[in-house]
Amino acid sequence: MDEIEQVLGLYISESRELLDEMELLLLNLENEQDKAESLNAIFRAAHTIKGSAGIFSLDEVVHFTHGVESLLDKMRDGKIVSNSELTSLLLDCKDHISLLIDNVEHKTGLTEHDLLNGNALLQTLLIVVKQEGTDGPKVQAKDNTQLTTTQAVERENSPKVKSDNWHISVRYHPDSFRFGMDPLAILRYLATLGDIESITSLFPNLPSASEMDPETCYLGYEINFKSQANKLDIEGAFDFIRDDSQVHILPPCSRVSDFIALIESLPEQDIQLGEILVQSGSLTPNELEYALSLQRQLKSQSIEVPLGTIVVNNGLTPQPVLESAIAKQNQIRDGKTKEIQSVRVDADKLDQLINLVGELVIAGAGSSLHAHSSGDRILIESFSMLTRLVEEVRDAALQLRMVQIGATFTRFQRVVRDVAKELGKDIELVITGAETELDKTVVEKISDPLMHLIRNSMDHGIEAPDVRIEKQKDPKGRLTLNAYHDSGMIVIEVSDDGAGLNYEKILKKAQEKGLIPEGESLDVHEVNNLIFEPGFSTADAVTNLSGRGVGMDVVKRNITALRGTVEVQSILGQGAIFSIRLPLTLAIIDGFLVEIEKSSFVIPLNMVLECVELNEGNSDISPSSQQSYINLRGEVLPFIRLRRLFNLGGRPPKRENVIVISYLGNKVGLAVDKLVGEFQTVIKPLGNIFSHIQGISGSTVLGSGEVALILDVPNLVQKILTTESAKALYSQA
């Protein structure tokens, strides 16, 4: 059973990928000039899901997907023109297939609600298909048969075989059993599409009993098959095996030349196979005679025509069928090369590796410290080599978890579409920077806050079409998702061209709520960012305000938990940009280690600009003042003493150092006792009880076993820049 489970698992994950692809294609369908290619791809996705489902006897999936396929087929033929209603219908169908696949995975049945919903969808499909055209792309294809013929076949003027049944030849790949395929199951499925008039099982390669491997498949068969199904459906039965086995399907009334090609391509002796064809009723003895002589003739002229060319040039197989077959083959081939290039790894194992690398980094730092203190030159040198290697291992390990954000972004296509429809708005989603990479755990956790911001922008930012027209804007709203790297952080922007935030209203509301004292003046930027305050998330705010700010405190909290920040910039009437800044990874950072008294602190290295010595000659640096300024090459640089900020006591040394850090373009200084230097830091999160402490974002273990605190630079910068808040912070300390 395990093997079957494995193959089924493969089917489930493959189907999910196909469904995702289908959704994306459907969403893009409306914007596309040439829809044919997308429709083909959508059809192929549905078709592959159905075909493979048949092999596992997943009747519900087959049944439902078949309905979807019929509609897609009509759309492909141009008999039904795609429009947004049809796209919505197909999206719903796609959802239902996902549901069916989920049920396959969990071995559960549909709930009554889903069952009814599925039936309704099928009914709708049926009506749509019925109303807009007659069934049977195959019949139509047959009508325009006489296209072109190859020279070889034209010259021979190959007659048609009289049989009006299909002929199917299958030779299984030796490893078919090992891949979990049971030829019997495929035959059973085939029997649901029509009648197997006759079947001859073949096992010409079956070795003697002593040499035979019971797990190798030596089987093949020739089938004379009576069916009204079209070629794609019949091929569908073999979709799952066709890649590595030989399958030939000849439609009714195929040309003799096709049979020749068949005979030539199969491993058995020509005569023997010919006999089987006659026995099965696919060929009459005369036709066989003719075929064999024709074959000899062609052979003597050394004409070799690929099977595909013959089939298409005889006009027997509609071109799309061949194209889809080729595309499928390519797809499988692509899938194979991908398989070689990538390995699926348990996320847990990866986490364990990262953790171990983290420990290695700490241990390395510790050893390096001892080496330095021992003063042994050779030892120090060998340790610097080791440290470099550890750094590389760390980078490589972290790289393992890096994924592109594009997949997360594209998932919002659907959300935007659905929500826009719900709100009666016309909104397009524009994605840029999809190839930007960041840590997988961050990607997973950012999805929720992003969703919130997107919904919020659509609901409250972008105006309804009539309002937009009034404002002389394009009635179609535009929502943009953008990502890029900026000094060791990733920035994700959600922007819209909507109404922007109403500064006046927010200010008024904030004053009512007592968030800002009377008479306090805040600039527009500060006011706008008030929407992230918890006070703004009450139901009251929804009705009185434009609604911006609903649950924004939750968004902020989630992002802060990732050591990130979120900000909003808005121009009234023109739109708003929400920017999320996140660290690239949650596990390890390059840090800059400093000391004050006996305490160690780590500053994320990517935020450190430079270090300067604090000179008595500079202005306003009295040790007693809470916040001071220095003259940094003619610029005013505000700085604070960490000693005071964290209330560490003791006396500062004669020569203090100031580390200049930069965040969001703002420069500030942190005064410390001693600079220790660069230090790789494995971040350990602070426990819940410390979560309210401001200015500290985490902790780390030093090589000596001591604990160092990691400074929360964004928070500190904010504190230093807003004097009032700084005062508050000091009084806390």
Partner: protein, 104 residues
């Protein structure tokens, strides 16, 4: 699971349970023993609960082997599962054993 008993008339073998890819290797080794042991072997398939193409392939191998070494192999009492598989694969006449068609 194959059990083999030698009688005066020849060998009698019973297969019980599934004949699938999962026990094909095990069954094959049991087959080899039974096949060479007697001139005339009767194989009782009444207790075969499940059979797939790999199982069918084993039966084909057994039959071909017996023909090759000029022994006789008769399949008897085909279970429902076996019969259905034989029919699908068009193997009833190939084995040419008396079968009881129970379905219409």
């Amino acid at each position: 699971m194959l059990t083999f008993t030698q009688t005066d008339q020849g060998g009698l073998a019973h297969i019980e349970g599934p004949m699938t890819i999962h026990n094909a290797t095990e069954l094959k080794s049991q087959f080899i023993g039974a096949l060479s042991a007697s001139q005339h072997l009767e194989l009782n398939l009444a207790a075969v609960t499940e059979i797939d193409a790999a199982g069918l392939q084993l039966l084909i191998m057994a039959k071909q082997h017996q023909i090759h070494i000029q022994h006789e192999l008769t399949l008897i009492n085909h279970s429902e599962a076996v019969l259905e598989a034989f029919e699908i694969m068009g193997l009833v006449s190939w084995f040419n054993d008396p079968v009881i068609i129970t379905r219409q």
